[in-house]
Symmetry: C2
Subunit: 149 residues, 2 copies
DNA sequence: CGTACCTTTGACGTCAACGTCAAGCTCCCT
DNA sequence: AGGGAGCTTGACGTTGACGTCAAAGGTACG
């Protein structure tokens, strides 16, 4: 019988570039619950999986409370139909905001790309001439583009 | 000669569902600088445009300091080549992180869609039978999917 | 004239997500 | 025995983005 791999707190912290403090904090908020070897925390493959989900959730802007709800969903058994219903509602709502967030993001990426191109253009020409006018033009263009997205 | 439309602080706040306090805060941080009519703030079309950019920036996770840098860019004239250079660097870096952020976001949307489908499936069948097993299966599947993104 | 409403400027409070100590434990090495 | 290295649990500090009063002034209505 093969024993599954485990990690210490600092090993896991190093791997995911977070501090041990952060891992303890997640535990304090109920997102992780590693086993103990005496006092020391022992993180399993499952704990590590949850951490991956936590960090991903954070990167897309989820607060920890909401990440916890999602993680808890995996532990629901068939008794809790009601909770599944409410979870489903929240998930649908979340999906909607995520979609609009993606639109925002794509708009921002586009605007940034435009800004970069504009900057490159201005830096390319050695003689500053129609600069201010061009700036104004870009400003208007950027604003227009950003508004009707 | 037609006079351009202006807004009071609470009008603008209502329109964009923020509080007057937030608008004053943005001003305090140098992101807005409305005219004054006596003491009262008067927001122009340009101020309103900047506010739109501010809110969009916030929605994609920019801190106010960075939003300010972007807004300030529009006011650069041809003297500040150096500042344009540094701005360009920062923008390129930002573009990279935005791209990876978009990947995260798309992964999250996909995971959420999977979760929703799974929940719907479980709620559809009236007799809870292979529930826990299915839950475990989904958990593994979700984790796998989330890891190799 | 009162008072109702909107505005102003401080000043202090709050909340999330940790950071930063401090004090003490255990294990291991020399 | 001494000394690190790494772990533990508090407890307090910090940062960003505002919220929440308080005190005071202008404007408008009945």
């Amino acid at each position: 019988m093969k024993t599954e791999r485990t990690w210490t707190i600092s090993e896991l912290a190093r791997e995911f570039k977070v501090t041990p403090r952060a891992l303890r904090f997640y535990e304090d908020r109920g997102l992780l619950s590693p086993r103990r070897d005496g006092l020391n925390r022992v993180y399993s493959v499952r704990d590590r999986g949850r951490l991956i989900l936590i960090l991903r959730g954070k990167r897309v802007g989820f607060p920890l409370t909401e990440i916890k709800e999602i993680l808890d969903l995996y532990d629901l058994n068939d008794g809790e139909r009601a909770q599944m219903q409410t979870a489903l509602k929240k998930f649908r709502a979340r999906a909607v905001t995520l979609e609009s967030q993606r639109e925002d993001l794509e708009g921002a990426i586009q605007a940034l790309a435009d800004g970069i191109a504009w900057l490159e253009g201005r830096l390319a020409e050695p003689a500053p001439k129609a600069g201010v006018a061009a700036a104004r033009a870009f400003e208007q263009e950027a604003k227009r583009r950003l508004q009707d997205a």
